[in-house]
Symmetry: C2
Subunit: 310 residues, 2 copies
């Protein structure tokens, strides 16, 4: 990971526009869990890879992720990310949009250096699927009739696609078999879904990732707990969701009301169970992969993603 961090620091430089490394450093310097590049390195490590392409691809994946965070904060009009003010607040929306574009282009340059058209295809496809997931989320926003199936489609796009691509390309550069690459892809997909569901829950119950508790509710987002609560709600509860989600009218005290509804219908417990199910699904995919210490770490990583939910 040191090599990845070093490469990220080098490649975010821009001779022509010093604001680019300023904005990028603000976000990348704030830390974050670096799960995606770790997935690439681990997947390559499973096969004893000792070249340099895994580091390039890991940095690529983190650049794509950082670009989507910059654009997300503009789209969501967020004011906090990783415990710091967001870039759109410190600079402006313009800088966030354009620096995101720059990082996205930089990520493709790094991929080209890795020299594999198949890797490029997987990552270009992931980038398209991420944007599709985000646009789909935007199109169903405020629609209380959105089914859980659509939620999963959104999450597969906006979160799981990059997890799956990160593991796949790691295996690919290391020469994994087609069977193993499929398993790595499925592992990343299930892990990404578990990760997003955990994120939905932590937004409600509080955690240390530097977001404000209840942000998703304030933004009227259709998270999995909200979708399940709407389906279980009586008429009075439903009118609450219609105001909060349907019309986007957040009021002081809404977080407590929502938590009351969740408790009444045991929603958070069922959502937690779903997250653990996806973790188990991810771990099951690992079984056919080489039985090495790294495989055990990928197993533990899946537990880690939901560990704060216990």
């Amino acid at each position: 990971m040191n090599a990845v961090n070093h490469l990220i620091a080098t490649r975010m430089e821009s001779e022509n526009a010093p604001r680019i490394p300023e904005v990028t450093a603000h976000l990348i310097g704030a830390g974050g869990k670096r799960i995606r590049p770790l997935l690439t390195l681990a997947a390559a490590g499973l096969y004893g890879y000792d070249g340099e392409h895994d580091v390039k691809l890991a940095a690529t994946v983190e650049f794509i992720h950082t670009a989507t965070l910059l654009h997300d904060d503009v789209v969501d009009e967020s004011d906090q990310r990783r415990g710091r003010p967001t870039a759109n607040l410190l600079w402006d929306n313009q800088s966030s949009v354009l620096v995101g574009d720059y990082l996205f282009a930089r990520s493709f340059q790094l991929m080209v250096e890795a020299g594999s058209l198949r890797v490029l295809d997987i990552l270009a496809n992931a980038a398209a699927v991420i944007a599709e997931g985000e646009v789909l989320q935007l199109s169903v926003a405020r629609n209380l009739a959105t089914p859980e199936e659509t939620y999963i489609r959104v999450v597969r796009g906006k979160t799981a696609a990059l997890f799956a691509a990160a593991t796949q390309v790691g295996g690919l550069v290391a020469g994994a078999s087609e069977r193993d690459i499929t398993a790595l892809c499925n592992y990343g997909d299930a892990l990404g879904i578990a990760f997003q569901i955990a994120d939905d829950l932590l937004d409600l119950t509080g955690d240390d990732i530097g977001k404000n508790t209840g942000d998703d509710l304030r933004e009227g987002k259709l998270t999995l707990p909200v979708i399940r609560a709407i389906a279980a709600s009586d008429a009075q509860e439903r009118s609450f969701w219609e105001r909060l989600i349907g019309r986007g009218r957040y009021q002081e005290g809404d977080l407590d009301i929502a938590l009351g509804i969740f408790a009444r219908h045991d929603i958070l417990e069922t959502v937690r169970t779903t997250a653990f199910d996806y973790v188990a699904k991810a771990q099951a995919e690992l079984e056919i992969l080489p039985d090495t210490p790294i495989r055990a770490e990928l197993h533990d990583l899946a537990d880690f993603v939901v560990s704060r939910l216990r």
Copy 2:
């Protein structure tokens, strides 16, 4: 160009997010001059290319261009483009950001299909340089001391880089020599600069491209006429620029005041001369290329770019 238009229509579809083709069709359907894809087809045609990659790369180039237009309109808070309301006004900024990201990712998928790592490198580099140019423009906005040299650097990034990449990759897929590829690159670069300078002038003098006359002034943009006028201005004129550009306080009647200052110092005439100089530079690069009817068309295209300035 029919094949390019057909490919664009096919590839902007999204099964998961129907808003994507809606937004894209709004912009692409409005026409535009399609100069960039034409450059790719013409450059490949110079060498008698009869494969399919030139069409893919032409569509790629137009997708990158469309993605940057969507993001530009968010960055500039524009309300009109190609004579229609902008996408950010019809839908929202969110859709413009995310659909731009989608088109950008799609463009990379198309490039991968063309199967050349060198082509990918050129286009990924162009995409990075475009974003750098836009960020640089943002950083020097409102700074009256910005020299003409910085203006050219911005334009090389935000406009000329894609023109140059479009011609280069056309030559590349068709097997042009390194010497010819360099000439194609220089042609595209000079043509792009001429194009942007013409755009600056047409914003002031009015034209039929569907923008509002004086938009750049209203947005306080440092165009080439403005930079030259600032350098030539006396104290009273300078205080006008300080309000309009430095503090971004546009007032009714400013367009006429600016036109008066331009006339007093003969600015528009010198800027026009600079545009024609770049056209001549572009045309000189063509001399070493195969002497075919297509070369004559590339020569005429350079004249066309500034034809409305006569």
